[in-house]
Chain length 164, copies 2
């Protein structure tokens, strides 16, 4: 992944850094899920661990921290509270469409850990439901209909780029 | 992405949670890059911002925090210090192969921010060097030779799964 855009200059106006940061989708994502506990909570919800007590037991996280992270995820529309019992009312946490769409990022984080830290073999294998074959995450060019090596990826400014 | 493995029980032995956590490649990745500044530093290095003063100016990060994060990334083998001037000696930070392999994760984090927060259009478009077509990040089944929808992804324990 090589960027062919002009580089921010080290002695440029301080506003330039802010403009780049504010128009960066990586920073936007980190504003929502840029916290270690948050990512581990989402991993658990993807795995089907959806209730407060289960999450607390699985993660070994303090109640107040867990409550804070879950509230933030609900506020950001990543999780929603869904009642599973009415007397007394008890809710579990489910992924919204926006939350489910984080699977790509979780798979990517898992893939890197697998490639560089799973010295005794990978802990979890993602497979195709239909045939059971281990899956691969790739970047594709829909025009050339081929997998694109990271060295062949370039970037250009999009319509949402703030003027520096 | 649906997990078909047995769920951790909320009242199981406390060792089970630790075992799952220790055998989780997402947690392994977060141990290295599970910090907001660290991800933003890596984003900048991918963009070609490689020198301490440039990184500091671009990110608006305190010197001690930047030095700490860079040291950690060097210690983890994600970045390496490469001299660009000898008198006096000055070094810049370059991605190692392990660091460059984080492009998949950064692209995934960017993609989610693009899809859910780029209301005025995406700030950056990743394109194929060869033809300039915007790229897509997908999960593929090499056996079926097709793109796999997240709903068709299953997981199973791999050889590195610690016994719970």
């Amino acid at each position: 992944m090589v960027d062919t855009e002009p580089r921010p200059s080290s002695d440029g106006p301080s506003g330039a850094a802010a403009a780049v940061a504010s128009s960066c989708s990586i920073a936007a994502t980190l504003d929502v899920v840029g916290d270690r506990w948050t990512v581990l909570i989402l991993r658990d919800v993807f795995r089907g661990v959806r209730r407060f007590a289960q999450l607390q037991a699985d993660l070994g996280i303090a109640r107040n921290l867990l409550a804070d992270r879950l509230s933030r995820l609900v506020d950001h529309g990543v999780l929603e509270r869904v009642p599973y019992q009415t007397r007394p009312l008890r809710c579990e946490y489910r992924l919204t469409a926006k939350g489910a769409d984080l699977s790509t990022a979780l798979i990517a984080l898992m893939g890197w850990g697998d490639r560089w830290y799973a010295h005794d073999g990978v802990p979890t294998i993602l497979v195709h439901e239909t045939c059971g074959t281990p899956l691969e995450q790739v970047v594709r060019c829909p025009h050339c209909d081929e997998t694109v090596n990271p060295g062949r990826i370039r970037s250009r400014p999009g319509p949402g780029r703030s003027p520096a």
